[in-house]
Amino acid sequence: MFVLRFEDRIDTMAAKAVRTHGQRTCTVEVSPSEVDAGAELTVTCRAACPHGCDLSGQSVSIRTQDDTELATAELTALDGEAYATSALVLRAPLDVGEHIYRAVLAASEKDGVSHDATATAFSFAAMAHAASVNVWGLPSAIAPGERFSFKVGIKCSAGCKLTGRPLRIVDDEGAQVGEASLRDDIWPGTSAVYFAEVEAQAPLTPGDHQWQVRTPGSDVSVPHAAGSCTFAVKVVSPPDHHVTVEAFDSETQTPIKGAHVLLHPYRALTDETGVATVRVAKGRYTLFVSGFNYVAYENIIDVAGDVTTRAELTAEPEGQDDYR
């Protein structure tokens, strides 16, 4: 919320034999004070006469600096000691930067009482649309030089259609390692996340590599700011062995489908038979097997060859449900 009290006196001629109450005070609320270029903002004006006159029915005109009228509204509801307009919806200009508008109350005379004209200036900033960039779906562990894919989604702060918007992937040193442009459709479940599937080749050296998605800004029709997002590409030694995990319910001895198997950084889900196979590099791992409604199974395993392990999971106590 942005409130600006800036009262400009406009000279008017006072009529004869009329009591002059002089200026009414006028305040303007603008929301939001920073708005996407071309997007909507709301303006509410409140005016009061120092003598407590009834101002209902008087008109407020919203004007640009060159005096173009954008909207008018009547003062209606009494809001405390002031009369307020309903929230006026305006559209911000496409020019990025601060804009100063005025709310003008014309001079008035009613029942022998006159009010001078009053103008209140208010301002807001029109912003280039921001790009929220997000990366998901990377493999949790990637072998050196392996080709892999992931998704990049971009949401415009004003929900604009972003189809075709280009993006580049750069590595730790700023070298481009991939590129794509956003697809025509939006990501399922979202209102305006445009996305691309990106393919890239992993670095040859193991380690956590900090890559970046970059999408350039644009001033075509509507101004859009550039955006970026840093994400980690975890490159590990090539896997040597298979670890097979069989997840079972410890009480019923039935297989658990969809249990999550973690030997960091390797991850997998068990299949219909409760089995998941993970290819891992040799070494010592903490194996976690977890399922919905189960206490997680934890065990340390040394992988020097192919390993098969049985994880018996115990159904978790129901907590407060015990008391039903």
Partner: protein, 689 residues
């Protein structure tokens, strides 16, 4: 001079049976003048005002509340010949008993123990073989009393909860437990096989069985049958006005030795309600007791109550909600009325978590305004408001066991794993009127589901290992070996409570204390911590099969569940929650940190064992209510369920039990049903005033 009016044919008939009567006295000018002119001392003025009350109704026994205590007391007092009027502030009968699982822990050699010990099925219910071996069903009141006061039994936090059971109360409880079981069965309640004891029901014998009804073509309380329509069906996401209890698909009593039967507290509530109405108990619903009236402020008999009309209305149509059964209802809509009790008033108003001053008496944590309590959608805004306790205190009643909320896990705040609903009981589907207020069934992710979400406070910061949020303490019960208790259990043996044993079984989550820590959004005067949010992404929804749709979340949205394309948008949306004071200021950086820790494979902040990145849009914020289920501590009563004053003397004509009373850490239907039975028995035998 008195004049009766509005006495219809039915009323006259009931009056002949000494039933509830409507009395509308005209005060004489002379009497009113005399009291004003002559009596000026406050006590005398009070006495005169009590005597000058124009009673609108009268009955032998007036019962405040139609939950577990109230229903048992009503039927019992009526059986003994008293006229009985039950008032309840809600639109339907049953209180929170209707929401309960119906697991009724009694014992002392009760009829169900004896039935199972003999492997019998006298009602022809089609029961399977008993689930508990015969020698573990052999019981008597002395053994039950010893078990219920066994100092050596500790819960999973090392608290000897049984030690806090008042001895006089539990002697009476043990003596009346077998009678109460028989009484329930005499009033159409049926039980599956005994399958253990309820938490707090003792360690040495099997004593608890679920109340059940059998699925059949039509609902017939006398036959113990329930129609599919009245049952409701979770697979169809539908409840019925008959039953708001969480339902398990199929015939959930199959493993309890009652194949084809379903269980729940509704089976007790509806059976007793049916019996009560059949026997002539009268119900005045939509009416809240505001004041108890005693002859003198702190002396003399309790004469009756002042009660206020408190209708609940349909939020869309504005129509008043009505009870499932209407026969025996008195539809009184006057704003305030006075009801005289010729014999006694029974305070069966339930717990006190709706009153912040009361609930903080011994537990300052409970000052947090966002704490949800009890089945608020089912029972409404006056749910657990402590009014019975407060009204009794005003006429001199003493309190007992006020610290027992603090040391009981079901009386202490916990973080719910049922997300996105204001009704953290999380059991109601559309079809029961209370869904209109719950607005959402809630998404039950269970404790394990927290692996796939983070919990953040009202500024968007994590505060605890989410996977340990639900690791709450639980009370010791039969069979030994469950909930950490020693398998080789010997009653009254010090080894049960040895430090080694406590260490071995200790289980407690401090997550709620961390959640209730002050944060940047905490403001004077209460410095409230605000709500807890579960934050997760669409990948978690897919992995868990979580139903992020109506009726599991509200439609239209009600501020407890939010979805957004980006985390930054989500952080602002949560402002729709009534207790949220600011956007989730740190959410974006919290998730970035969490995702980095997931990449690293170790939670350096809270030691959560498994981390899944929160990265796939859309993103979700679902309220994880901080809630309290039960209430312990309340009016001090004796073994006859009479309320005592601060000198330990009986307040004549005033009874209480269940969650309105204190002096025990026992939970559940077992406690409340016996209290109701005792109170009803003794109230009916009071002299008629």
């Amino acid at each position: 001079m008195a004049k009766k009016r509005d006495t219809g044919r039915k009323e006259s008939r009931l009056q002949k049976e000494k039933a509830v009567s409507r009395r509308d006295f005209f005060k004489t000018g002379a009497a009113a003048g005399a009291s004003a002119a002559v009596l000026s001392a406050p006590a005398l003025a009070q006495e005169s005002s009590a005597q000058a009350i124009r009673w609108n109704y009268e009955a032998d026994v007036v019962i405040l509340g139609s939950g577990c205590v109230g229903l048992h007391a009503a039927v019992r007092a009526r059986d003994l010949g008293a006229s009985v009027l039950v008032i309840d502030q809600n639109f339907d009968v049953g209180g929170k008993l209707v929401h309960s699982g119906g697991w009724t822990s009694l014992g002392g050699g009760d009829a169900v123990q004896e039935r199972d010990r003999a492997a019998a099925d006298p009602l022809g219910m089609g029961l399977t073989a008993p689930l508990i071996k015969a020698q573990d069903l052999e019981d008597d009141p002395d053994r039950l009393f010893r078990d219920m006061t066994d100092w050596s039994v500790v819960d999973a936090t090392g608290v000897a909860r049984y030690r806090y059971n008042d001895r006089e109360l539990h002697r009476a409880w043990a003596d009346n437990a077998p009678k109460t079981r028989q009484f329930m069965m005499d009033n159409y309640v049926r039980f599956a096989r005994i399958d253990g004891t309820h938490q707090g029901g003792g360690m040495s014998r099997g004593r608890a069985a679920r109340s059940v009804m059998k699925i059949a073509d039509k609902t017939d309380i006398k036959a113990g049958t329930l129609s599919p329509q009245d049952r409701g069906d979770p697979r169809e996401e539908r409840h019925s006005p008959f039953n708001p209890m969480r339902q398990i698909p199929g015939a959930p009593a199959d493993p309890l030795g009652a194949p084809g039967w379903v269980y729940g507290g509704f089976a007790i509530a509806r059976s007793l309600e049916f019996s009560a109405r059949e026997k002539g108990v009268r119900f005045m619903l939509n009416r809240h007791m505001d004041e108890l009236i005693r002859e003198r402020p702190f002396a003399g008999r309790v004469l009756g109550v002042r009660a206020r009309h408190t209708p609940r209305t349909h939020p869309e149509t504005g129509a008043r909600l009505e009870s499932f059964w209407q026969n025996g209802n008195i539809d009184e809509r006057a704003e305030t009325i006075h009801i005289r009790a010729r014999k006694a008033v029974i305070v069966a108003t339930g717990g006190m978590h709706g009153s912040v001053p009361l609930r903080t008496m011994f537990d300052p944590r409970m000052c947090e305004p966002s704490i949800e309590y009890g089945p608020s959608a089912l029972i409404g805004p006056l749910n657990m408001d402590g009014s019975g306790i407060i009204a009794s205190m005003k006429i001199g009643a003493n309190l007992a066991g006020m610290m027992q909320n603090y040391q009981h896990s079901s009386g202490s705040p916990t973080i719910s794993s049922v997300l996105g609903t204001r009704d953290t009981v999380g059991s109601i589907f559309p079809g029961h009127p209370s869904f209109l207020f719950a607005r959402a069934k809630g998404i039950n992710i269970s404790g394990a589901g927290w692996e796939h979400a983070i919990a953040v406070n009202q500024v968007g910061q994590r505060f605890y290992n989410e996977r340990a949020i639900a690791a709450n303490s639980s009370d010791a019960k039969y069979p030994p070996g469950t909930d950490g208790t020693r398998k080789e259990f010997v009653p009254l043996d010090w080894r049960n409570a040895s430090p080694a044993q406590v260490r071995a079984q200790y289980r407690k989550s401090a997550a709620v204390d961390a959640a209730l820590a002050m944060n940047e959004g905490s403001r004077a005067p209460d410095y409230a911590s605000g709500p807890v949010w579960a934050i997760f992404d669409s990948a978690a929804v897919q992995r868990g099969g979580w139903r992020v749709r109506y009726p599991y979340v509200a439609d239209p949205p009600d501020g407890y569940f939010h979805k957004a394309d980006t985390l930054a948008e989500l952080a602002k949306k949560v402002m729709g929650h009534p207790h949220q004071k600011m956007p989730l200021k740190y959410l974006v950086e919290t998730v970035a940190r969490y995702n980095a820790l997931a990449d690293k494979g170790v939670d350096e902040d809270f030691e959560k064992p498994v981390l899944h990145k929160i990265e796939t849009p859309p993103f979700y914020a679902a309220s994880a209510g901080i809630r309290v289920q039960d209430s312990y501590g309340g009016l001090r009563i004796n073994g006859k369920a009479q309320v005592l004053d601060t000198r330990g003397e009986v307040i004549p004509g005033l009874y209480s039990g269940g969650e309105a009373s204190g002096g025990g850490s026992q939970h559940g239907i077992g406690r409340a049903s016996v209290h109701g039975y005792i109170a009803g028995s003794n109230a009916a035998q009071e002299p008629t005033a």
